[in-house]
Symmetry: C2
Subunit: 130 residues, 2 copies
């Protein structure tokens, strides 16, 4: 079965993260996309998202490796919810498994863009606002 265009896009994003190809990476996000950097801290828009990924790459000593071990896509018109089994490998830690949640939106040119990137899924609840 042919891969869903969003699955291809996420593979492209993972490869771009691992290669630190931030130009390619940022093209996958909408202008006002939201990226959860960590629970309670979000980057908003392409400039902040690029800076966040640069900082993350440096933090992990340029050895970050991200991949998806599985993916489910629910689509409604121009909006899609992705539930992913994300595996993050860093030089210091054992493999980190995340139940990631991504939202994509189809633009008028029929291309999907990531509008919400929350690789932490329900781990957001580990951060409680005052």
């Amino acid at each position: 079965m042919a891969k869903h265009p969003i699955e291809q896009l996420i593979e492209k994003a993972d490869l771009a993260i691992n290669r630190e190809d931030f130009d390619t990476l940022i093209d996958i996000y909408s202008e006002d996309a939201v990226l959860v950097i960590k629970p309670g801290m979000n980057a908003i828009g392409k400039i902040q998202i690029r800076k966040a990924f640069e900082a993350i790459a440096a933090h992990f000593n340029h050895k970050l490796d991200v991949k998806q071990a599985g993916m489910k896509i629910l689509e409604s018109d121009d909006t899609a919810l992705v539930l992913a089994k994300t595996v993050v490998s860093t030089p210091e830690a054992a493999l980190i498994h995340r139940n990631a949640t991504y939202v994509f939106k189809k633009n008028p040119g029929d291309n999907w863009l990531c509008v919400i990137d929350n690789s932490y899924g329900h781990e957001l609840f580990s951060h409680e606002d005052a």
Copy 2:
């Protein structure tokens, strides 16, 4: 702090489910919304969604009770991802806790509508397609 309009909408939906007020309930969904009935089985569009909720109500002997024990909302332009701690109470079983994922979209009239309703979150992976 004032409640987010989406939080108010989800409260209204829960109340409508518990009261079996399907007219009110269905108003909260977009025309082509997707509801996960159970992993691997989706209802698409208002007519199927209404039928699914009627069948669910009957299945639980009209004693279903749904509420949210917590909610996180990530918003980008006209799209929002909701991560919810959903608690389902039925006559037969102990409380069921779900890490629900909902996607809402703002329509041109500035009202939010549910476009993807996946109360199962990553439990979708418990159903593997052949």
